[in-house]
């Protein structure tokens, strides 16, 4: 896909950031007046940060129809980027007045950094997942193009001919194989072996291909014989890597800070905890939405007291997504992204309608095909518009986490007596 979209890496925030936010973002580090504040004003900052995290989550929950759509996922990432930016601002404003490297605080920060590293691999895996969807989109686009080219005016369009249907079916079959391929065996188990066995497999597939061609020329199923050569991309993570386990590692042991820890850290313990929770929630929702090696949503946050303003929204989000994942037609999906569901639904529908179809297509079937085709076009469009920006945001998340981590480490390694 051409990466020439107008939105730059920084642009996503504008799509939904509030003026209050951008104001805050511009103040890194905060102006001197706030620098030498007593703890109560930094408490205010930390409270505002937590409330804002809650608001961002509530905003994500406000429109339940869009939950887990591409656009929603982009907003989710925006929210994360905003949170981490505010977190840095608070942390480094604090660090300007007193060292971060002191007992309790350094322990909490190192714990957060550990989680952050784990999120990096997740970001890479998610990028692979998005590339996989991009691959699907290509086949989808072929099918959409085949079914929708005939006439600009749908009312006068002749019913789709055998050629168009055949072409669309072939593309959809390839797509289904790719999607299944990803689903079983976590997408890539045996990838190496498969790739070493390529030549043999290919020869095999050619002979299948001939069988298929005889079948299809006699009007049978127009499934693709070339399916066996199709192979989803290789993942950049190792074969044993598991998104599910990674999530557990990111969220595991994320415990509510004790009162004396909060006191000892001037309230920063709460901010660190909030940031850790946001990291986990966002990672969890992304894994839910996007194909990943060995997905699984078992990981969970341990009881968050309601005193944290974001506790309610977080659990609502968990519940909504889990509900979604339990739906009958989503249970075995390779990603809860709304668009993936659409792909599955309308490609299945198209395959059913056109299976063993007589040509020209019966009058009553054509509208069905047309309807599914239109949905196809629409999914294609939203994927085309949404995948590249989403991937850039995932990269942005990666780089932002790396940068935050580095900065924190720099502060931690700075000796106390540093001038």
């Amino acid at each position: 896909m051409p990466a020439t979209d107008s939105s730059s890496a920084a642009a996503p925030l504008s799509s939904f950031g509030r003026s209050f936010l951008s104001h805050r973002r511009d103040q890194i580090p905060p102006p001197p007046d706030h620098n030498h504040t007593n703890s109560s004003s930094s408490d205010l900052e930390i409270d505002a940060f937590q409330r804002h995290a809650a608001d961002l989550l509530l905003d994500l929950l406000s429109d339940s129809d869009s939950l887990l759509s591409l656009a929603w996922t982009r907003r989710l990432l925006d929210s994360f980027l905003i949170c981490i930016e505010e977190f840095r601002a608070i942390l480094f404003a604090f660090a300007d007045s007193q060292p971060l490297s002191r007992p309790t605080l350094d322990r909490l920060l190192l714990d957060f950094l550990d989680r952050a590293v784990k999120a990096l691999d997740l970001c890479n895996a998610l990028r692979d997942g998005l590339d996989l969807i991009r691959q699907w989109r290509k086949h989808l686009a072929i099918a959409a193009a085949a079914l929708s080219t005939s006439d600009p005016d749908p009312d006068h369009a002749a019913p789709r001919g055998e050629a168009q249907i055949r072409r669309a079916r072939k593309a959809l079959t390839d797509l289904t194989i790719l999607m299944l391929d990803d689903k079983d065996a976590g997408g890539v188990v045996g990838q190496r072996n498969r790739s070493f066995g390529r030549a043999g497999t290919t020869r095999d597939s050619v002979s299948h291909g001939h069988g298929h061609h005889r079948r299809s020329s006699s009007g049978g199923s127009s499934g693709s014989g070339s399916g066996s050569h199709l192979r989803s991309l290789s993942w950049s993570v190792s074969r044993t890597w598991s998104a599910s386990r990674q999530l557990q590692a990111i969220g595991g042991g994320l415990t509510v800070p004790r009162a004396n820890d909060i006191a000892a850290t001037g309230g920063l313990a709460s901010a660190i905890y909030t940031m850790g929770a946001m990291l986990f929630v966002v990672a969890w929702a992304l894994v839910a939405a996007i194909p990943c090696q060995d997905r699984g949503l078992q990981a969970h946050l341990t009881a968050v007291p309601r005193t944290f303003p974001w506790a309610g929204p977080v659990f609502t989000l968990f519940d909504r997504i889990l509900d979604e994942s339990k739906k009958k037609d989503r249970k075995h999906s390779c990603g809860l992204l709304k668009e993936i569901h659409q792909i599955e639904r309308c490609s299945r529908q198209l395959m059913e309608v056109t299976d063993a179809a007589e040509f020209p297509l019966a009058k009553e079937k054509d509208p069905e095909v047309q309807e599914a085709a239109q949905e196809l076009v629409q999914v294609c469009e939203s994927l085309k518009d949404g995948l590249d920006p989403l991937e850039r945001q995932v990269r942005e998340m990666f780089h932002r986490v790396v940068r935050t981590r580095t900065e924190i480490l720099d502060y931690l390694s700075r000796p106390h007596n540093a001038s």
């Binding site: 990096l120 590339d131 290509k138 686009a141 050629a163 043999g200 290789s234 190792s238 390694s413």
Partner: protein, 657 residues
């Protein structure tokens, strides 16, 4: 040139006409069809050409199978009957449509034979040519039918036929890319495994066989192109790609291409021995392991981005020559994953520990990526690969900041170095050795470090980098001067743990002298500048003077006898002085002969200064004593001046007890 093309076209059409036309009316219809969609094919010209051909062949209106002798048609007697629907839909149409229908029917017959073939069509170049010709005709027919828009049924039929052609072409295309040797014109010169590969023997006997997979051999010179397909194969594959794009199947074509090439790319990268590592693994790995990985990564990265990917680009450009943007789409899809995978290791390394010893390997990585950047422009020029190009730039930046961070970390390491253990005898502290040797080594990459410090990562552009690393005001120079300052402060703190202030001086002198030597001896001198060296030398001199004062000040004071004559000391006082000297000197000698002055010149200088301060006064005292009548009586001289001189020459030998 154009004329030549036209002639060829005419000849082709004529040939088709001969092959297809079973009767004169039919031939005429076909001729009319051709003339309809291409002005060059006027009926007159065609008739003239036909007459010429007929007389040359010695027979009229060639029938099916007669005139087409130069094409070996596959044996396939059972031809699918044309669908009834299409026939009925075409009924009652004006004459041109009828002829069109005949064209489609004939093409159907011809193409069905090809499509039903068991082996590769491209196994026989004549078959391939004939098939392509038929496909071209069909594409033209479909376009014409679509433009006319009058015969939906026939159009559908032709399109259906076209889609079968495309499915078959797709398979041929893939087969030709994956197994180019199976095609007929096995032109030599392609890049193939030399057959001695282990992989070939493995499982090769059971007929299920692994094809020898062409892979990149180890190379040192990156100015190499892998030609995975012979020119003949490329030409074949291009022919197919052009038909697929013409027929509107460009996306399918790009997909198949990418899928077919991805295997080769994956395989080639796998053979380079780089294994994928997650950021978490990188963070958990020991530095030794990572050094090993980096040592493999750098050549692999160069191989992939300098040979493999440009070769893929070249191949893609040739296969999809003139068929933009499908070539660009196919190229990115073929190489993207492996490219990103290599890049992500760079990301992981950048985000891991910043221990100073990592500097040099990370610099190597950075330089590999940075040097590559300008060469990538032609390879990733299209908008589809812009994202990949951006990722390479991003990892270059990330590695750059990482280098900066690592270099900064040296400062923290010095600051944190505890002042608990004193160097024996005031000698050179390990931290001084470490820092100086580290900085000397770092100077080997000073151009890169300078670039990174200035923050213009990868802004090479060759000479455009206006950074002059030799000026002491450059960022790197300023930073190194700062590190020296930090080191100096740290050494100053360390000097305080010596209880004896003299030893503190010796310690500072030793380390100061070592620093000067290392600076003068390397490019650090250029970076820090003469002024800095002068200051440092002055410092060492001052410490040396401090030492003289602290250690020998009281000694020489004791030896002062005042001038001869008036006010001369009484003999007893002089004797008292000598006794004090003896005590002092013995004490100093015992202690300080175990001290260390590592630099020989400095040792000589310090001894000389000591001798210069002590010897004249001591000799004077002895001679006064000797010449004094009261003193001469029971005079005990423990150290002759020669003894003292000799002892001084044995100071700072670091003699272990």
């Amino acid at each position: 040139m154009a004329e030549d093309g036209e002639e060829k076209l005419l000849a082709t059409v004529q040939h088709i006409v001969q092959t297809l036309g079973s009767s004169d009316t039919m031939t005429e219809d076909i001729l009319r069809v051709f003339s309809n969609y291409d002005g060059r094919l006027s009926l007159d010209k065609l008739y003239a050409a036909r007459a010429a051909a007929a007389s040359a062949a010695g027979g009229g209106g060639g029938g099916l199978g007669g005139g087409g002798g130069e094409h070996s048609m596959p044996e396939s007697p059972t031809l699918p009957p044309p669908p009834a629907a299409a026939v009925s839909a075409a009924a009652g149409r004006p004459p041109p449509v009828t002829s069109m229908e005949r064209t489609v029917r004939t093409l159907d017959r011809q193409i069905s034979q090809f499509v039903a073939m068991d082996g590769l069509i491209w196994a026989d170049s004549a078959d391939a040519d004939a098939f392509l010709e038929a496909v071209d005709d069909l594409i033209g027919t479909v376009q014409e039918l679509e433009a006319a828009g009058t015969n939906r049924g026939l159009f559908d039929r032709a399109e259906e036929l076209l889609s079968r052609c495309m499915a078959r072409l797709e398979e041929e295309f893939r087969a030709l890319i994956e197994r180019p040797d199976d095609a007929a014109p096995a032109a030599p010169g392609g890049f193939r495994s030399d057959g001695s590969d282990d992989e070939e023997d493995f499982g090769g006997g059971d007929g299920y066989g692994d094809e020898p997979i062409p892979i990149a051999k180890p190379v040192t010179d990156y100015d190499v192109v892998i030609d995975a397909l012979s020119p003949g194969s490329v030409a074949n594959v291009h022919q197919i790609a052009r038909r697929m794009v013409d027929a509107g199947f460009g996306r399918e074509c790009a997909e198949v291409y990418a899928a077919a090439r991805r295997g080769f790319v994956d395989e080639s990268v796998a053979r380079l021995g780089v294994r994928p590592r997650t950021a978490e693994e990188v963070h958990a790995s020991s530095w030794e392991e990572l050094e090993f990985d980096i040592a493999r990564w750098i050549p692999a990265f160069n191989m992939v981005f300098r040979i493999l990917i440009p070769s893929e680009r070249r191949l893609c450009d040739r296969v999809f020559d003139g068929l933009a943007p499908f070539g660009d789409l196919a190229f990115v899809a073929a190489v993207r994953t492996q490219a990103l995978q290599l890049i992500s290791f760079g990301d992981a390394i950048s985000s891991s520990s910043r221990a100073p010893e990592r500097l040099f390997r990370v610099v190597d990585m950075y330089e590999a990526v940075r040097d590559l950047l300008p060469d990538l422009d032609p390879v990733f020029a299209d908008p589809y690969s812009a994202a990949l190009r951006a990722e390479v730039t991003a990892v270059c930046n990330t590695l750059g900041s990482s280098i900066k961070g690592i270099f900064m970390e040296l400062e923290n390491l010095i600051r944190r170095d505890p002042a608990r253990v004193a160097a024996h005898g005031g000698g050179i502290h390990p931290i001084t050795r470490y820092v100086m040797n580290y900085l000397r080594a770092a100077c080997g990459s000073r151009q890169t470090l300078e670039e990174v410090m200035e923050g213009d990562f990868g802004a090479v552009g060759g000479a455009a980098a206006a950074v002059d690393p030799d000026r002491p005001t450059s960022s790197l120079a300023v930073h190194i001067a700062w590190i020296m300052d930090v080191l100096h402060k740290n050494l100053d703190i360390k000097s305080k743990i010596y209880r004896d202030p003299s030893l503190a001086c010796i310690f500072l002198m030793n380390n100061g002298k070592y620093i000067i030597l290392k600076v003068n001896d390397s490019e650090l001198g250029v970076l820090l500048g003469d002024e800095w060296i002068k200051q440092m030398t002055n410092r060492v001199r001052r410490w040396s003077m401090d030492y003289q004062r602290v250690t020998w000040g009281k000694v020489t004071t004791v030896l002062q006898t005042g001038g001869p004559g008036v006010g001369a000391l009484p003999a007893t006082a002089m004797k008292q002085k000598l006794r004090m000297f003896n005590t002092y000197f013995q004490e100093i000698y015992e202690v300080q002969s175990e001290w260390v002055i590592a630099d020989e010149q400095l040792r000589v200088d310090v001894r000389a200064a000591v001798a210069e301060a002590v010897m004249p006064v001591y000799t004077a005292l002895i001679s006064r004593l000797k010449s004094s009548p009261e003193a001469r009586h029971d005079l005990y001289i423990k150290y002759t001046p020669e003894d003292v001189e000799a002892c001084i020459q044995h100071l700072f030998e670091g003699a272990a007890k």
